[in-house]
Subunit: 469 residues, 2 copies
C-alpha cells in the first residue's frame, strides 16, 4: 500500500494558474480526534508563528559559536536561562558541570615547502578538537598519504618522523550521510593515536564532509594513554585532493604544520533546564534536548543551536496553545556534547539520584532540516507505544518512526536506566556540507524546516505526556 | 502499517562512535530483481559520480539567467545542444519556437516621497515580467493597500490615479509551499488588470515568497484586451511590511514608481531535444524535461536549470550503465515556460503531427531539492501502472507516487493528446525563498539532492521504457 501525503502542486503560467488534483489521505484516522486536532494546531502555530528561527538567529548572531569552556558558552548558558524564563517555562535552572577547556588559538597553518611541481603552497587546515599544539615554528615532515589504519601499520618504521595524511573520503554513494560519516570518522578520532604508534610526528585528516569545499571541518580527536600525543589537523577536501595529486606527481612532499592549540584545566559550565510541570504526574518526566555547546566554527547553527531552540520552542508552542500535559516535559540544553558529553552524563547521573521517573527522552542533533520522523531506542512494547502516534506526524511527512539511535546526550539515560530515547530524523543530505565548519551559519537554516522539527517534537512529547508509554 | 526506510544514524563522540541499530526493510521485494538491481545501480552512479550538479554549475556560472528572447537564452540553447552531444545523446536537434521578448531595462525604482514619518525612502522593487514601463520620470501616486480584488472593486472611484499595493502574504501555515503560492499569485498575475479597471495608475505587489527577505521576486503578470495597461512591480516582503506600517501611521503616502521595462517583437528561439532511441519500439516515446528559460534574476538555478540538467543527466546515467531501453527516452529543454509556454505548446503540436506515440512525459520544475516522489495526471489504469514501480524509489524515500499535477511544459501533451504526465515532487520548503529572485543561485543547490532527482527520473523512465504503461 502506498501512503499518500497531502501533495498539492501548482504552477503559475502566463495563462493563469493550473491546479492539479489534490491527493489527500490522512492516516491519523484511527487516533483520538483530540490529538489529531492538537497536532494540527501545533503545526499551524509552528508554521504561522513559530519562534525557533528567531531564537536561533539571536543565539547565532549575538553569541555565535560556543565551544565548551569558552566565554561564549558561558554567555549561551545565561542567554538560554533568560530565554526559558522569557517564554514562561517553569523551574528554570542550571545544572553545573565541569567541562574540558580546549582552545584553538590564533595559529593554524599547513605550508607545503618548495614542492617540485607547485612550489610552496598554503593549505586550508584547522586544528582538530583536543589536539596538542606544535612548537612555535611548527613541525616539518615528509607527507605520506594513507587510506586507513592498516596502511599506517604497514608503514612500520618508514613512518618515523613523517606527517601522516589520512585521505579516505566519505562514501558518497550511501544514502544516509551519517553512515558515510560513520565510515570515515575513525581517521579523525583515532588517526593521531595510530600514526603515533608508528612514530609519525603529526597528522592531517581529510575533512569529514560529503562536499568538495575549501573550508576545513573540525571535530573531536583523542589520545590514548601510553601513546605519544602528536598534533593533528583537518584539511579541506579541495586541498586534500590537491595534496593527493601533488603526492602522485612529486617524489617527496614536505610540509610545515603549525598549530597553537592548547588544553587548559577543566572549566565550570552548566546544562540549562526548564519545563512545563505535569498537571497530574509531575514526577514523570519527558526530556526534549539539544546540545548548547558547539565547535568554534561558523555559528553552530545546525549543530546544534537548531536542536536547542527546537526544544525550547516545542514547550513554547504547547504553552501558546494552552495545552497542559499531565506529565512533565522538560527542555534540556546539554553542555559539552562535542568533546566530552559531560552534560549528558551529569544529567543522567542526576536523574538516577532523583525521585523522578524519566519515561522518554528526545534529542534533536542532526541539523534543523525537514523532519522525516524519529529513530527510537526502546524495548519492543515501548517502541510500539511511541510508533502508534506516527499518524499525527503524517501531515508534515515526518511519520517514519523506526528503531535507531536516540542521541549522544540522552544515550546515558538509556544505557544506565533503560529510559526510551529517540532522535529527530531529518533530511540530512546537506548536513555535512556545514558540519563543524565555518559554513554552519544561520543563513543555512530554513525557517519552515526548523519550525516543523519543533512541531514534531511538541506533538510526540505532548501525546506521550498525556498517555504515557 | 508504517513503511520503514533505511535509516542509520550515528554520532561520533569523544569516546568513539556509537552506532544505533539499523532499520532496513525494503518494499521493492515484489518487483523484478533486474529492476531492483538497476535502480540501485542508478542511485549509486548518481550519488557517486552524478554530473547534474557539474552541468548546472556550468550553465549558471557561464551563462547565468536566461530570459526568453535574451542573448543568454540563445547561448543556453547552444550550450545545451553541445552538452547533449557531449554526453552521447542521439538525434540532438533544435525545435524552433518564437518567444515573447520582454526586457527589464536598467531602471526599476519605487521612491516614497517625503513621508511624514520616514521621509523619502527607496524601496526594493523589480518590474514584473511583461509589464509596460513608466514614463522616464516615473508615475507618482498615493498608495492604497489592499488584500484582494474585492477590496480593489470596493475602492471604486477613490482608486482613480492611485497606486494599488497588493499586500496579501502567502499563507505560511500551509504545508505545501506551492499551495501557499497558488493562494496569493493572483495578485501578481491579474493585479494590474483589476487595478486598471478602477482607474489606478500603477501596481505594487508583495513578493511571492514564504520568506521575509530584502529582494523582490519577479514573475509573470498579464494584461487583458480592453483594459488599460498599467505598470506593475514586485516589492520585497520586508519593504512590503515597512510600507504597510507607514500607511498605518501616515495619512497619505505618495510614491514614485519608475520602470524601464519594454516588450519587443517576438524573437526566434528553440526547444532542445536529445534522446536514447528505443531498441525495440523507438516510435514510443517517454519525455523527460525541464524548462531552459528562466527569469532574469539570480542564476535560474532551481527554476529550472535543475530540472533541465536532471533530464540530461537521467539519460547520461542510463548510458553510463549501458542500459538500453526498449522505447525511446527523450530529454527536452523547453523554452519559454515562464512567460508564454511557447516551447511546451510547440512540442505538443509537433508530437501531434508526428507518427511517434508519446506514452509518458515527466517534468522536473519544483526545484532541485530532495525528491519525495511524483505527482501524476493520468487515467486510473495508467496511474496504477506507474505507481507499481514506487518500491524502486523507496531507498531514496522518493516513493510517494500520487495523483497530481505534471508540469506546465508537458501539460499540453496531456490536455491535447491524453498523454500521461508526471512531475517530480521534492521537499520544497525552501523553494520560494529563491524563486524568481536574485537568491536563485547555484550555491543554493545541494549536489546530492539534485543528483537523486535525476536518479528518480532515470529509474522511472527506464522501467516504463522497458515495460510500457
Amino acid at each position: 500500500m502506498t501512503r499518500f501525503v497531502c501533495i498539492v502542486v501548482l504552477q503559475a503560467c502566463l495563462n493563469g494558474l493550473t491546479v492539479g488534483p489534490l491527493a489527500a489521505q490522512n492516516n491519523d484516522e484511527g487516533l483520538p480526534a483530540v490529538y489529531r486536532e492538537t497536532a494540527r494546531a501545533i503545526i499551524n502555530a509552528a508554521l504561522g508563528d513559530g519562534q525557533a528561527y528567531a531564537m536561533l538567529e539571536e543565539l547565532c548572531l549575538q553569541i555565535g559559536p560556543r565551544l565548551s569552556g569558552s566565554p561564549e558558552a558561558a554567555a549561551a548558558v545565561e542567554w538560554s536561562r533568560n530565554k526559558m524564563v522569557e517564554v514562561g517555562l517553569e523551574g528554570v535552572r542550571l545544572q553545573p558541570v565541569m567541562v574540558p577547556h580546549w582552545v584553538r588559538g590564533p595559529v593554524e597553518s599547513a605550508l607545503v615547502l618548495n614542492s617540485e611541481s607547485a612550489g610552496s603552497v598554503q593549505l586550508e587546515v584547522c586544528a582538530l578538537g583536543g589536539t596538542i599544539g606544535t612548537p612555535e615554528f611548527g613541525v616539518i615532515g615528509e607527507v605520506i598519504e594513507v587510506q586507513n589504519f592498516e596502511e599506517v601499520k604497514a608503514l612500520g618504521k618508514s613512518a618515523q618522523g613523517k606527517i601522516i595524511f589520512y585521505n579516505r573520503a566519505l562514501d558518497r554513494t550511501l544514502m544516509t550521510t551519517f553512515k558515510a560519516y560513520g565510515g570515515a570518522v575513525d581517521q579523525r578520532s583515532r588517526g593521531a593515536i595510530e600514526a603515533a604508534k608508528v612514530g609519525a610526528k603529526a597528522v592531517l585528516v581529510r575533512s569529514m564532509t560529503t562536499a568538495l569545499d575549501d573550508v576545513p571541518h573540525t571535530g573531536a580527536m583523542r589520545y590514548d594513554d601510553g601513546v605519544e600525543k602528536i598534533p593533528s589537523a583537518a584539511i579541506s577536501t579541495i586541498d586534500a585532493d590537491f595534496l593527493s595529486r601533488l603526492l602522485k606527481q612529486d617524489q617527496k612532499v614536505r610540509l610545515r604544520l603549525t598549530l597553537s592549540a592548547k588544553t587548559f584545566a577543566d572549566a565550570p559550565s552548566a546544562n540549562v533546564l526548564g519545563e512545563i510541570r505535569g498537571s497530574e504526574k509531575p514526577e514523570e518526566v519527558i526530556v526534549l534536548g539539544g546540545h548548547l555547546d558547539s565547535w568554534d566554527k561558523g555559528h553552530g547553527a545546525h549543530d546544534d543551536g537548531a536542536g536547542c531552540m527546537q526544544s525550547i520552542e516545542a514547550l513554547r508552542l504547547l504553552k501558546s496553545l494552552d495545552l497542559k500535559p499531565k506529565r512533565t516535559i522538560r527542555a534540556v540544553m546539554f553542555m559539552n556534547e562535542e568533546n566530552g558529553v559531560r552534560g549528558g552524563l551529569a544529567y543522567a547521573d542526576s536523574a538516577g539520584r532523583s525521585s523522578e521517573k524519566h519515561i522518554l527522552a528526545i534529542e534533536s542533533d542532526r541539523g534543523g532540516f525537514t523532519p522525516r520522523g524519529f529513530s527510537v531506542t526502546a524495548e519492543s512494547a515501548q517502541f510500539e507505544s511511541i510508533a502508534r502516534w506516527a499518524g499525527l506526524l503524517e501531515a508534515m511527512a515526518a511519520d517514519k518512526i523506526v528503531p535507531g539511535y536516540g542521541g549522544v546526550d540522552i544515550n546515558p539515560l538509556n544505557k544506565q536506566f533503560g529510559v526510551p530515547v529517540m532522535g529527530l530524523v531529518v533530511d540530512a543530505h546537506r548536513y555535512f556540507d556545514y558540519h563543524h565548519s565555518d559554513n554552519d551559519t544561520i543563513d543555512k537554516v530554513n525557517e519552515r524546516e526548523l519550525e516543523l522539527g519543533a512541531a514534531a517534537m511538541a506533538i510526540i512529547s505532548y501525546v506521550v505526556a498525556m498517555e504515557g508509554i
